[in-house]
Symmetry: C2
Subunit: 285 residues, 2 copies
């Protein structure tokens, strides 16, 4: 790649997608690690949640999300959705002309690095049923024990706006975490991008011997590593921009998104799922 082409590549945005708002917790981590990067984010809020749907349907939606982001000519794609990472990572990598970072593999690696003991994983129905975390952990350490638990109510609880001190949140967490508390894993992976909003309560219930792994933070550090090792990081001093697209209800996205992303969402535009479904394949040059 010539120096002009490489300079052009450095300026390109990161393309990030999720089924809805949760991926903004990954954007928050990206902004902390890589503040100079521009970000284009797609939240498929018309079809959210992915976590209760079949692998085939999640794959179809994820490939449509990818095709949309590729029209912005990103330098790297972040699959900021555990359910899409679990069901569609290989298909996304095959279909993408640029590097892809998901949330599962970096989350698994961070957990393996953190402990020699069993690893706990909590996530949506689809993520846990896929077995993607146990597979990613086994690829790094075949004998490692993994204790996985689906927690279907946590996404709607967070989206309803309930906080960590809400008695219902604590009651539901106690119910889901009971078996994990008993088995005392050496680390617990928050295998859903909504769960960082409940990290304080989860940490308290699990105790100090079970550190939490934020899979979004692990993914952001992996993006940083890849951009630096390939000389593709944006060298400017100024802060990067963020442009969001949502398939439903930009007002609700902006309002709730601030809680997930940790900062105001200034640019959010609507794109219909009918437009995603009829969009031609990658237009990457």
């Amino acid at each position: 790649m010539g120096s002009d082409a490489n300079s052009d590549r450095k300026q390109r945005p990161l393309g990030v997608f999720d089924s809805g708002l949760g991926g903004l917790t990954v954007v928050r981590e990206l902004a902390a690690c890589l503040p100079a990067e521009d970000i284009v984010y797609l939240g498929d809020t018309a079809r959210v949640p992915y976590g209760i749907k079949s692998p085939e349907t999640i794959r179809r939606f994820a490939l449509e999300d990818l095709a949309f982001l590729l029209s912005f000519e990103p330098k790297l794609i972040v699959v900021a959705c555990n359910s899409a990472s679990a069901a569609a990572f290989e298909q996304i990598v095959d279909a993408s002309p640029v590097d892809v970072v998901d949330v599962i593999r970096p989350g698994a690696a961070a957990a393996v690095a953190l402990t020699d003991g069993p690893i706990g994983v909590i996530g949506t129905e689809a993520t846990v049923a896929s077995g993607a975390y146990p597979r990613a952990i086994a690829a790094l350490d075949p004998r490692r024990e993994v204790i996985a638990r689906a927690c279907p109510l946590l996404v709607p609880i967070v989206e309803e706006g309930r906080g960590e001190d809400d008695p219902i949140v604590l009651h539901v967490l106690c119910d889901y975490l009971r078996e994990l508390q008993r088995r005392r894993p050496g680390a617990l992976v928050l295998g859903c991008t909504h769960y960082p909003l409940l990290a304080g309560a989860i940490a308290k219930l699990m105790g100090p011997d079970t550190p939490l792994v934020n899979s979004g933070r692990a993914a952001a550090l992996e993006v940083q590593r890849r951009l630096c090792s390939t000389g593709a990081a944006n060298p400017r001093d100024a802060g990067g921009s963020m442009h969001c697209y949502t398939t439903d209800n930009p007002q609700r996205f902006a309002r709730l998104g601030e809680r997930f992303g940790g900062r105001a969402i200034d640019h959010v535009a609507f794109v219909g799922t009918d437009e995603l479904e009829t969009r031609p394949g990658p237009v990457y040059r």
Copy 2:
């Protein structure tokens, strides 16, 4: 209509749609009132839930669902989804060449007939935000007080398979119903097709002075009234058939659907949302 045409009309199925599984509680009531009728059911499980989405998106999905059902040449359409009834009833009526029964207007009428006191309504975020129940009640009795409460966690709780004696279910219901318990409405409308599965616990919390209105049962009685008054009811003795279509995961639909519909689901087939979105308009002859 000649007698042949009328005889043909009597044989046609009822077309029923919902965002997912909940509408099967309406089918259960239809089967109880009108056992001879054939039913074609569409559950849009790839895009479920509708209840957290914008009116515009719900309208688009609902019109696609309608177009699909019209290809079966039904004699009547049942909108077995409170969120779609709230957001899209007028648009569905405009687009349908056959009679349409929703769940909101019959539910509102049943509540007004049941009490002279205030009427409570519980439903999804979209149903409650739409104000559709207060409007339907005001059309019958302009001075009637309505106390509405959105209960976003109840749908995922039911879909997770939690029963009425689960402590978390009781805790969440107590939280949602607190204000309604204090204000003692003369009737409480279950304004979501999932809620009949929690009717026992809700009735216990509300007490004997607040009878519950099952909006699906009210809709089924309205369908019966319309078919009988127009001579369109199927006169045969044999039980009607039921064919289900789902936009995601027919296996999960059949497994969970039995709980909602109260009987085994024998015929369930997949239809993709891409097929719904590209389907031409009504093909009704």
